[in-house]
């Protein structure tokens, strides 16, 4: 049984077909990539999986449970978390609180505990804070814990976003162009980081990427989209030599 099972996923914006008949069976522990030119509908696929848009047609099943119709926060709580193409941190909030916010669904104290700040809440919050620091340490971010997120350099902000996503305890991590705006050195480090957290947290990863270098090196399986349709899929080797891909995507990229 695949961890994520997508069948016939289709989405229209008004008359515009953004995604058409997208299928995917993602096994636990895999790392697969989704590539395609700008406007191919890649991010829309993520938005459909995470419940930001409701698909026009098709089914999405995670761990055997249907996701269509659930609200985004419910889907994340089930174990799918994402990062955003353009960084969406909570800017005027400390890095630590960016991470602590993501513990929301794991909080056991109820609202009355919150209003009366009961010992139960205080001790739980302390544990969450420790947990948040632990996550920040993994990403080498602990020294920024009390800094406002918006004051961090770009690369650090990207790492905070991944750390924040991990705080939701996902089984499946969706990364939307994690390497955008990075130089080759930074991309190498990012690849190491992705591999490391994948092992450490036992993650399944599904990533959208523009940087072919990264996708070709770390993904074992790649899907290619163009104009909402899946035009090719296979191993990096197969993709590299697929004429349709070359025409639609690589040709444009190589210039």
């Amino acid at each position: 049984m695949a961890l994520l099972h997508i069948n016939g996923l289709t989405h229209y914006f008004g008359g515009l077909r953004a995604v058409y008949d997208f299928n995917l069976a993602l096994e636990e522990g895999e790392l697969i990539g989704l590539i395609g030119p700008n406007g191919a509908g890649k991010t829309t696929v993520f938005n459909l999986i995470t419940g930001i848009y409701r698909p026009t047609k098709g089914t999405i099943q995670f761990n055997g449970q249907n996701l269509v119709g659930l609200q985004p926060h419910q889907i994340t709580a089930k174990g799918i978390c994402r990062t955003f193409q353009t960084i969406r941190l909570f800017n005027n909030v400390s890095v630590l609180d960016n991470v602590r916010i993501a513990f929301y669904s794991q909080v056991r104290s109820n609202l009355l505990d919150a209003f009366f700040r009961t010992p139960h809440l205080v001790s739980e919050d302390k544990a969450l804070t420790r947990e948040a620091y632990r996550l920040l340490e993994i990403f080498n971010l602990e020294r920024y814990a009390q800094e406002l997120a918006m004051n961090l350099p770009y690369g650090e902000q990207k790492r905070v976003e991944i750390a924040r996503a991990l705080a939701t305890k996902p089984r499946l991590l969706l990364l939307d162009e994690p390497a955008a705006g990075m130089n080759p050195g930074e991309i190498d480090r990012l690849m190491d980081l992705i591999q490391r957290i994948r092992q450490e947290f036992g993650l399944t990863i599904f990533l959208i990427e523009h940087q072919m270098r990264l996708v070709m090196r770390i993904c074992r399986y790649i899907k290619v989209m163009d104009f909402g349709e899946t035009i090719a899929e296979g191993t990096p080797e197969e993709i590299r030599t697929n004429p349709r891909v070359l025409q639609a995507y690589l040709g444009e990229e190589v210039e």
């Binding site: 914006f13 991010t43 938005n47 930001i52 955003f84 193409q85």
Partner: protein, 302 residues
């Protein structure tokens, strides 16, 4: 039947005024994404300035008889000029420095409204002034329906102003820049348009329309007082929202819709319920169509 026709004319008259003021809210919102909460009071200032302008013109004319139409147009132009000056100074002093801080600037706008109301109160005193119409009133009877000159003038002048606005917005360079900013705020400055100039122009046009609205309103309901802008302003604002704020035609349509709703509500329910019903209608429209009738669907980019 004649009753309904009669009410329809009343509704068009009221709707025209709402539309004029609603345009001001809508245009400023379109360009700045900012609700100018002081706009209702700008309208009130417009009404007072046209009163004083008329008095001034009459006094300057002394014994020489000048046609009323001239006084009407003259005081409207003077009121527009004065209102625009006041609005532009407010924009310069209170809005521009805070433009980047959305919430703070809304608060200053609310504050400027309170300021204008009470400044007027200080200047003219707590009395209600009765506005002497600048139009010689004749009532025409058409198939049993009576239309007064005042009503005709109100409807005619409003429509004329709206046509001028349409011309500015569609045919002039500045007007097109205005629409472009409403459409995409990030791209326009890149295209060499001076956004500050466009904003100034928008505020100027908005306040001119409000001043005209003030003069016309004072003809329909000839009592003016410093707090008159609050209720009218809010209602015009509702019109702008119902039509789809930021969209010029939306504001016009919204103004007329509200005119009809109010007159209909006043005819069916006790008159003190009128405002209540207007606001309930607003709530319903917004719940059904959160961005108003003409408002573009705001899809956030994710």
């Amino acid at each position: 039947m004649t009753y309904i026709l009669q009410q329809l004319i009343n509704a068009v008259q009221l709707g025209s005024i709402y539309a004029l003021i609603a345009l001001g809210y809508s245009m400023v919102y379109g360009v700045l994404r900012f609700i100018n909460f002081a706009h209702g009071d700008i309208f009130m200032v417009g009404a007072f300035l046209s009163y004083f302008a008329a008095v001034l013109i009459k006094r300057l004319a002394g014994a020489t008889a000048i046609p009323t139409a001239l006084i009407f147009v003259g005081s409207m132009l003077l009121a527009m000029l004065g209102t625009a000056l006041i609005t532009l100074s407010i924009e310069r002093i209170a809005y521009r420095p805070l433009r980047r801080y959305r919430l703070s600037v809304v608060i200053t706008a609310l504050g400027m409204g309170v300021f204008l109301e009470h400044m007027t109160l200080v200047i003219v005193g707590p009395w209600r002034i009765s506005f002497h119409p600048l139009i010689t009133e004749t009532v025409y009877k058409v198939v049993g329906v009576s239309i007064s000159t005042t009503q005709l003038v109100i409807i005619f002048v409003s429509i004329l102003l709206m046509l001028i606005l349409e011309f500015i917005v569609r045919q002039t360079k500045q007007g097109m820049a205005m629409r472009a900013i409403s459409y995409d705020r990030e791209a326009v400055p890149l295209m060499g348009v001076n956004v500050d100039h466009i904003i100034t122009l928008t505020f100027a046009i908005a306040s001119c329309l409000a001043a005209a609205g003030g003069l016309l309103y004072a003809h329909a309901y000839p009592i003016i007082e410093p707090y008159m802008g609050i209720m009218v302003g809010w209602k015009a604002f509702i019109s702008a929202v119902v039509g789809g704020i930021g969209v010029i035609r939306g504001a016009m349509l919204g103004g007329y819709i509200l005119g009809f709703v109010e007159i209909a509500a006043g005819a069916i329910f006790p008159s003190r319920m009128r405002d209540l019903i207007s606001f309930v209608v607003l709530m319903i429209v917004l719940l059904a169509k959160p961005t108003g009738i003409f408002g573009l669907p705001l899809r956030q980019k994710v």
